[in-house]
Symmetry: C2
Subunit: 99 residues, 2 copies
DNA sequence: CGTATAATTCTATTATTCTCGAAATATGGA
DNA sequence: TCCATATTTCGAGAATAATAGAATTATACG
């Protein structure tokens, strides 16, 4: 995982709406949620949500599959773990810390 | 740690110069580094660096102390750990993951 | 095929962030 | 006190991000 991927993931999560979307998807588990339901639960207009989802998708933090007319988004836990791994390794000291 | 603090920390780190500054400070340990030396090592103009350092400071990720004419910045590991803790707890599934 | 539903892409507007030159503040030493 | 050093704050310009209305694509079903 390169630094630019880390920055992409961090900026994807460093925004109120997107962090809430991601947290919601985390609670939804691997079943995921259709875009419309995310929009409704979080009171975000569909086009704005779509903008945020594409950010999360580009950062590799969510994946999407189609089910009929719905697009189901779900959290990509592996990616998130990789980001946390990077931060733990590179941003958390060789002093007495973080283990 | 509240969500707005997490967002502050994430956006502080979600920027190339600031991530490099923070990583440099992490390697410097508790001794820290004076602003001028950070600017020199990373080839960032002093005023721009100051802008970035204040971001990191507002996010609680670095602290500063004065030593003569120099201001010594150092990484706040505890804060970083708290951020990682939050992300692990809230953004990392109750599925088989992240442990 | 025609219509309805689900979501995205397009376009424009506003807001925020980044960068850097210039000016200001704080400290130390002659 | 006067000057040099270290760093920050101010002010302005350029770049990037967020929001939402309108138009478009994709699927389902009568």
């Amino acid at each position: 995982m390169e630094e630019k991927d880390i920055i992409a993931a961090l900026s994807a999560l460093a925004q109120d709406s997107r962090l809430r979307v991601f947290r919601l998807l985390v609670t939804a588990g691997s079943a995921g949620l259709p875009a419309g339901q995310i929009a409704e639960e979080l009171a975000i207009t569909p086009n704005t949500l779509s903008f945020h989802l594409s950010h999360l998708k580009n950062a590799g933090l969510v994946v999407v599959r189609r089910d009929g007319r719905s697009l189901i988004y779900s959290a990509e836990y592996g990616r998130m773990r990789a980001v946390l791994g990077y931060l733990t390794e590179n941003c958390c000291s060789r002093d007495p810390c973080c283990s």
